[in-house]
């Protein structure tokens, strides 16, 4: 693109009062080489915008440096199709946070113009990625339970085609075993009608159903997935655009339960799952001899909420036991039914079902540690009743039902790290050495569900307890593999009511994904981004850092270790760009070279001027808005800082630090998101990776003979704007103690 740059300086909102605009215009003209430099008292007003439009039309301006407010505001006003626009944040991060009329404030503003000019110089308009092969908008649904069936049905109703793969011979999932359900409005129990859902799906011409089938392999990425489905000896291939993973759960293995719960010691001690099967196969009876039920006890939290067994709560077992208890009361009203519970968990309207069970005469015993004593067919439960303070003995029980929990199917299988270790054992010593940088690997179990041909492992990465989610409260359907959305009980334990909505929600995300990908756009969290990373392969050294560090498994590799990027799997965070020691990965509008030039454009005063310079590399989703809000609150902070926003701190390449320090900049501050178990990074591990890389920065500093205090990493949340001024000031103070960077003037 032949660039014609114009700089527009707004003097409104206090900018004109804080800065020498004439001087600033000179910098734009002489140093930034802007063909046009204009100022306006209210650039975002009708007149101001008309001026910009006029210059685009009449003067051929196609690069606009808009030195005004934060890019986070007036975003619609300053959008000009076909032009490169860079917003210089003179308002929130200069005029509102620095001393007006001060020399340092002026220098800061001037530097921001230089940084912007460097950025625009290195920036090209992104061209959307279009794969060579045709994009499929069909959706693959893995699992034919309630969530999967619903997803398929909803996909079809929205006008898309679905391919549904179910491992069992029949559709319906776990609900096929269930006679009665408890759902809205939770006033009682209802007949299960999963069969009508199965019929809807089976009859739907938009849905191709495979039962008794499994996915042998999944290759490609969003828009261009190729799925091989094996069914009765034959393998069929489908092209799909996105995947809803609703493979469901398995009941917790009762053989693992504490023996004091009596499982296996009497035929009359069964699990809640076995209870459902029994009812479906002829009604509730005494298992040992098919006799009538006179005394029944339900024991909640069998193995659940137990750090040694299943540490979490399966959410639905209280409601399930209430349902089963009400069923017994409805069929044998004279039966004595007890529910022994730690805590009754019936959130929302399900509270009504709890009340209903009480009205039906179900007896509730609150007990933390019940014990089952079984001898032959005779079963007794001893429970220390919290309310009575004494042990209640439930004798002559015909049936004890243990409320065991749900385990996601992704929690089974060998740890992929071990598989990899085995594979690697065959490799040469030299290759092992290359992977010296220890980066946290995804926890993937070889659970034989998707069989992804991804270099990073064949299944969705799991978090705690093997659930394949991303631990984002605000974005619950996100997994750490692009275009694959988890739904139903594989995502979190849930009842049928929630599974219906969940199937629909995940279907929505899948449809949205194929629509975005077909336009060459990124999905969450940089939804709509048209840029994508390009690899300059001639200089690749096969170090594998990009494939290792990509949080979304977007990069495969060939036998020689060359990266094979899969752009539709990419989230555009730039972690690969930050990881690459050869700096061969760039986006059209975001690159190592671009940020390097931005850093180098900062004017570094001579040592005797006593004006240190600090480069702040800030996460653009959290730290950067926090700085804006500090400005909004007119909080002032150190005037030596120069803030450069990063897509994610994980895109920080160590060369940036070398660039800064070798130019005489006194310190580099990295502002990233919290990492660890409750990470806040929207790219999962960007800030963590940045910090790990930083552990290697010592080499750079040693080479330059510089102090390690010159580089600091801080975690900052978006709401930490009250703390930011102190963080910046403290760092500046530290640097004063360290003294000026000896490279100044070189």
């Amino acid at each position: 693109m032949d660039k014609k740059l114009a700089t527009y300086i707004c003097t409104g909102c206090g900018i004109g009062d804080a800065l020498d605009i004439e001087q600033l215009s000179k910098v734009a003209q002489k140093e930034c080489k802007a063909a046009l430099v204009k100022t306006h008292p209210c650039l975002c007003g009708q007149e101001g915008v008309a001026m910009l439009k006029g210059d685009i039309q009449n003067e051929g301006v196609n690069c606009l440096m808009i030195a005004a407010c934060s890019p986070r505001v007036m975003y619609d006003v300053f959008r000009f199709d076909g032009c490169l626009v860079d917003r210089v944040n003179l308002r929130e991060q200069v005029a509102w946070s620095q001393k007006p009329g001060d020399e340092d404030t002026q220098m800061m503003a001037e530097d921001y113009l230089r940084i912007s000019a460097a950025k625009i110089g290195k920036m090209d308009p992104p061209e959307p990625y279009k794969p060579e092969e045709e994009i499929s908008k069909d959706i693959l649904i893995v699992g034919g339970g309630v969530a999967g069936l619903t997803a398929a049905k909803e996909v079809s109703k929205a006008g898309y085609k679905a391919v549904l793969v179910e491992r069992e011979k029949e559709l319906g999932g776990f609900q096929r075993k269930v006679a009665k359900i408890a759902t809205f409005p939770y006033k009682g129990i209802k007949d299960n009608d999963v069969e009508s859902l199965v019929q809807d799906v089976s009859k739907d011409g938009n849905i191709t159903v495979y039962t008794g089938a499994k996915i042998e392999k999944t290759v490609g990425g969003p828009g261009v997935f190729k799925v091989s489905i094996a069914q009765s000896g034959a393998v069929k291939e489908h092209k799909v655009g996105a995947i809803v993973m609703a493979a469901g759960w398995k009941p917790y293995d009762p053989a693992q339960l504490d023996p004091k719960l009596g499982y296996g010691q009497s035929p009359n001690v069964i699990t809640n799952v076995q209870f459902e099967e029994m009812v479906k196969n002829g009604g509730a009876k005494r298992p040992s001899d098919g006799g009538a039920l006179a005394n029944v006890a339900f024991l909640q939290c069998a193995g659940q909420r137990d750090p040694e067994k299943l540490p979490y709560c399966s959410s639905v077992c209280c409601t399930t036991s209430l349902k089963q208890a009400i069923f017994i009361k409805e069929t044998s009203p004279e039966a004595n039914v007890f529910i022994v519970f730690k805590e009754m968990r019936t959130p929302g309207q399900a509270e009504d079902l709890y009340r209903r069970a009480q009205e039906e005469g179900v007896i509730f015993i609150r007990c933390q540690d019940p014990q089952v004593k079984a001898s032959g067919a005779g079963v007794t439960v001893e429970a220390l009743d919290d309310l009575l303070g004494e042990t209640v003995v439930l004798e002559d029980l015909d049936l004890v039902v243990l409320a065991t929990g749900m385990v996601p199917v992704t929690a089974f299988g060998e740890d992929y790290a071990q598989v990899r270790a085995r594979m690697r054992a065959g490799e040469t010593e030299q290759k092992k050495e290359e992977e010296e940088l220890e980066v946290p690997q995804d926890a993937i179990l070889v659970s034989d569900i998707l069989n992804l041909e991804y270099r990073q492992g064949p299944e969705l990465p799991g978090l705690r307890y093997g659930f394949p989610d991303s631990h984002f409260i605000c974005f619950p359907y996100e997994t750490r593999r692009t275009g694959i959305y988890a739904a139903g009980c594989v995502r979190r334990p849930m009842g049928v009511a929630a599974a219906f909505e969940d199937g629909a929600g995940a279907a929505m995300k899948a449809i949205q994904c194929v629509e975005m990908v077909s336009q060459g756009k990124a999905v969450h969290p940089r939804a709509g981004d048209m840029s994508f990373p390009e690899f300059f392969m001639q200089r690749c050294t096969q170090c594998k850092r990009c494939t290792e560090e990509c949080p979304f498994g977007a990069i495969n590799e060939d036998e020689k270790g060359n990266p094979l990027p899969q752009p539709t799997r990419c989230r555009r965070c730039g972690v690969c760009m930050g990881a690459c020691p050869e700096r061969i990965i760039s986006f059209k509008n975001y690159s190592v070279g671009m940020i390097g030039e931005m850093i180098k454009s900062i004017e570094v005063p001579e040592e005797d001027e006593e004006k240190p310079r600090i480069v702040v590399l800030a996460c653009e989703n959290d730290a950067y808005p926090a700085l804006d809000m500090a400005g909004l609150r007119r909080m002032s902070y150190n005037a030596w800082v120069r803030v450069i926003p990063m897509r994610c701190l994980g895109s920080m390449n160590l060369i940036f630090i070398a660039d800064a320090l070798s130019k005489g900049i006194d310190g580099v501050l990295l502002l990233g998101c919290k990492y660890g178990d409750d990470y806040q990074c929207h790219f999962v591990k960007g800030s963590e990776l940045a910090n790990i890389r930083l552990s290697k920065v010592k080499e750079t500093l040693d080479r330059l003979v510089l102090e390690s205090d010159r580089v600091r990493f801080e975690t900052v949340a978006i709401s930490d704007y009250d703390k930011l001024p102190k963080i910046l000031d403290d760092f500046a103070e530290t640097l004063e103690g360290v003294g000026p960077n000896p490279y100044k003037g070189f």
Binding site: P185, C313, F475
Partner: protein, 420 residues
């Protein structure tokens, strides 16, 4: 629907579920009108200090969602707007939207000159009236849209002209009047959310008259730096940090006389708030009075984490009555320990009532008939053809569930307008 006359979708309510519904549908390629009653988007979550269980700030996810809206011209946002009428059928609804005057037009840059010029103050709605704010105000630090609001009391006052003249950008329009906009849409997502159950109805807990008895939503503001106390947890009566804090669970919830259902989130919310107290007041004694701790799913881990605090007392028992010492404004919680059957009178400095979620539809139903349950929740997501209920309009739910629900509702709304 083959005969849809428009492919536009309306989402009513700009909180977590409504906003999610809007952006999810827009990113799939549909035109969306997002109608919000407040002058800003974000709903109740914008007023939270942190989310459980990650203890992370809601602003973070809001920033992403706001950016999605900014980047997507398909979403048209109406703030200070309410739906007055819905006519028509699926695929062809005529909706009348009533927009209250903001008295500030789109020329506003957010510079704050109006607030500087204004001396009139009003109780701050964002902080549930716990402090005052200028009557020309930005609703909160990350308000979206970033635009000031003039309170009607200011417009009527003698100061109005002065404030108008203080604006360098001619953004204040004192003549602005309520207006209505008629929009044609094919489907509607209703996500008007919830309100905290009214404390003044809780006779045993002082009917809202005790200074140091606050609600859980107020506690969120007390803990937030942009709240009334700059994030310091202080007793409203004397501004002192409390030495003992009581969290009273099920304040009106699971109670046939108030809200018979369980709001599902209050246990976790209170225990999260206990971490706020602990962070600021290391030696405070904290009581958590509860019936059942309802922490489903992996939220169990959060409970276990909080239980490690040895000055946080899990006290099983429902507080029967709270009384106030008129002189000290200290409080006494009368509660029976259900495990020992002993009656306790526990003096505390600050009480936080875990009030539940009352669906806004219980008081402001849809302007067209749809089925409700006895509590005022819309009875199912498919409220009627073309109209879908999402989030806490349908059932009490936490943030992640609200998002999931809004996402599901977005697909249903799309199905109504798909041309086949």
């Amino acid at each position: 629907m083959a005969n849809t006359v428009t492919q536009s979708i309306m989402v009513v309510g700009g909180g977590m579920s409504g906003m999610s519904a809007a952006v999810e549908a827009a990113e799939a390629g549909y035109e969306v009108f997002l109608v919000e009653k407040n002058p800003y988007l974000g709903g109740r979550v914008a007023q939270l200090h942190q989310y459980f269980p990650k203890l992370c700030p809601p602003y973070c996810g809001l920033e992403i969602n706001f950016r999605r809206i900014k980047d997507n011209p398909r979403v048209k946002v109406f703030t200070m707007a309410e739906v007055a009428a819905i006519r028509g059928v699926e695929g062809d609804f005529d909706v009348t939207v009533k927009i209250s005057p903001r008295y500030v037009n789109e020329k506003c840059t957010g510079c704050g000159k109006c607030a500087e010029a204004c001396t009139l103050e009003i109780p701050n709605p964002f902080n549930y009236g716990m402090d005052m704010v200028k009557a020309a105000y930005l609703p909160h630090d990350m308000a979206f849209p970033m635009r000031y609001v003039l309170d009607p009391s200011l417009v009527k006052s003698a100061e109005a002209q002065k404030v108008k003249e203080a604006c360098p950008y001619d953004a204040i329009d004192l003549e602005m009047a309520e207006k209505t906009v008629d929009l044609k849409v094919g489907s509607i997502v209703w996500a008007t959310g919830w309100k905290p159950y009214d404390m003044t109805k809780l006779e045993n807990y002082g009917k809202g008259a005790y200074a140091n008895v606050i609600s859980n939503v107020q506690m969120e503001r007390l803990a937030a730096w942009n709240g009334p106390t700059q994030g310091k947890i202080l007793r409203p009566s004397d501004g002192q940090p409390p030495k003992t804090v009581a969290f009273v669970q099920c304040a009106g919830s699971r109670d046939q006389n108030h809200l018979p259902f369980c709001s599902g989130i209050c246990c976790l919310a209170s225990l999260k708030q206990a971490t706020y107290v602990r962070e600021q007041i290391p030696d405070a004694t904290i009581y958590f009075f509860y019936i059942d701790v309802r922490a489903t799913d992996r939220l169990e881990d959060f409970i276990n984490r909080v239980k490690a605090d040895d000055k946080l007392i899990f006290f099983k028992g429902k507080v029967a009555k709270i009384t106030e010492d008129g002189a000290t404004k200290n409080l006494i919680c009368r509660v029976e320990n259900t495990m020992t059957e002993e009656l306790h009178e526990i003096p505390v400095d600050l009480v936080v009532l875990a009030t539940g979620m009352q669906p806004n539809t219980s008081e402001a139903p849809l302007p067209t008939p749809v089925p409700y349950d006895e509590y005022g929740f819309v009875a199912s997501m498919d409220a009627m053809p073309g109209i879908y209920a999402a989030g806490t309009t349908r059932t009490p739910c936490n943030v992640a569930e609200s998002v999931a629900d809004g996402t599901a509702a977005a697909l249903k709304a799309i199905q109504s307008v798909v041309r086949r």
